[in-house]
Amino acid sequence: MKNFIENIDHIEAYLNGELSPQEHSAFEKRIQTEPEIKEQVESVQDLIKGISFASEKKLKVKLDSVESKLNKESFFKSKEYNMSNTRKFRWIPLAASMAFLVAAGLFFLKPGTTNPDLGKLYAEYYKPDTEVIKEVLDRIEARGLATETNKDDEKLKAALIAYEKYDYKSARTQLSKFLDDFPEDQTARFYMGLTQLNMGNYALAIDYLQPLCTEETFPYKDQAKWYLSLGCTQIEGPDGIILAKKYLNQLVQDNSSAYQKNAKAFLSHME
């Protein structure tokens, strides 16, 4: 009985149909009678699929970053894309969408009314969060050291690490699952908002970020306001601009805000 390494070539030849008919049937007989061989064949099949899975995932991360760059250059925005307005809401439950629309005053998302200069301005000012996430991850880490490892914390951590690695699709999937169990979790809602923003789903981003701006217990209200304002500038129709200005003005008036300078500059460009 040969070991796994020595059998790999023969197993692959069998899987690729490269054995002669005699060799093929002889090997099939071995698979049926020798459990170890059967396990090795299944193992090779799984490993090959796993390698392809990992490679595809790696490739998708690269493609996401290309997409993200093109998003910032407003490549995906044009009058032709009006139908895309519908997609912005495809994952939001109807009631939540309505609540958001009423709260934001966005009763109409008129197509084709976004100012193209705002797209450039957005691209200039928007940077994915790299500061807060470090703090949040450190906090989760510290919590894990102090107490028994919490599986829920681990799930949130994995989602945030995906965000940190620019793997926004994976971050979105994991955050979505986490929010199913903990719909009120502020950190998960904040990063879901940022993830959606990064993926160009501005209306969804607003839906997650806006409530956080007024929640007393949320420690990163300034960040939420800043990213919310940026997202609002990308909503078609005048109401997005009104909302953006409202939150930018709040940041400008707050002398303790780290975003005061940026908000002032952004507002002056808008006007």
């Binding site: 796994f4 390494i5 390698i51 690269k62 490549f75 995906f76 894309y81 139908m83």
Partner: protein
């Protein structure tokens, strides 16, 4: 830049090559998706799937671009068929002019959503284990099993003998198998 350079850039997974492909090929496919019950988001997802399927085609040693096979035609052909397959699974309407493009036998290596979810769960662990391996093993396994590059060509790329690459590849497979067995969760 000619198509050959672009193909080379894509195989090497260069950022500029992907960007060029988006700029040249995204709009025609997007129009196709919008015409067939899809949204811009669907078009973006489809374009990524298309690039992955395209990569599997262009890395094959027998693949050659000629006057009859333009990269744009190939991309559009793969993308539109993938989208029709998606629609068929979702049972959404297809514009009548596009029905003729349906092809039952078209194989792009893509799978249905349910299989995809199962596939992801099952192979996540292998992917995680792969991350902990050395760079050379990861590259070798990716070249051979994902990109389907022949051992002889890998040997040339890495300046080794073919025999050495074969032994190394099998050792890496064994190492990966052991890593997976050690971390069954």
């Amino acid at each position: 830049m000619d198509s050959q350079q672009l193909v080379k850039g894509l195989i090497e997974e260069e950022h500029w090559a992907f960007e060029k492909l988006y700029k040249d090929q995204f709009n025609p496919l997007k129009s196709y998706v919008l015409r067939n019950s899809g949204t811009l988001d669907d078009a973006k997802d489809l374009f990524q799937e298309t690039i992955i399927a395209l990569m599997k085609v262009i890395v094959k040693p027998e693949f050659k671009l000629n006057d009859n096979t333009k990269l744009s035609t190939l991309t559009y052909s793969i993308g539109s068929r993938l989208w029709l397959m998606n629609l068929r699974k979702k049972k959404l309407p297809i514009a009548s002019s596009d029905i003729s493009e349906m092809n039952e036998d078209f194989d792009t290596g893509q799978e249905g959503l349910e299989e995809k979810i199962e596939y992801e769960a099952k192979h996540q662990l292998i992917a995680e284990s792969l991350k902990t391996m050395g760079e050379e093993c990861r590259k070798l396994l990716e070249f051979y099993y994902f990109k389907k590059i022949k051992l002889k060509e890998i040997a040339e790329m890495l300046s080794y003998t073919q025999a050495f690459v074969r032994v190394k590849k099998n050792r890496c497979m064994n190492e990966l198998r052991e890593l997976v067995t050690q971390n069954p969760d």
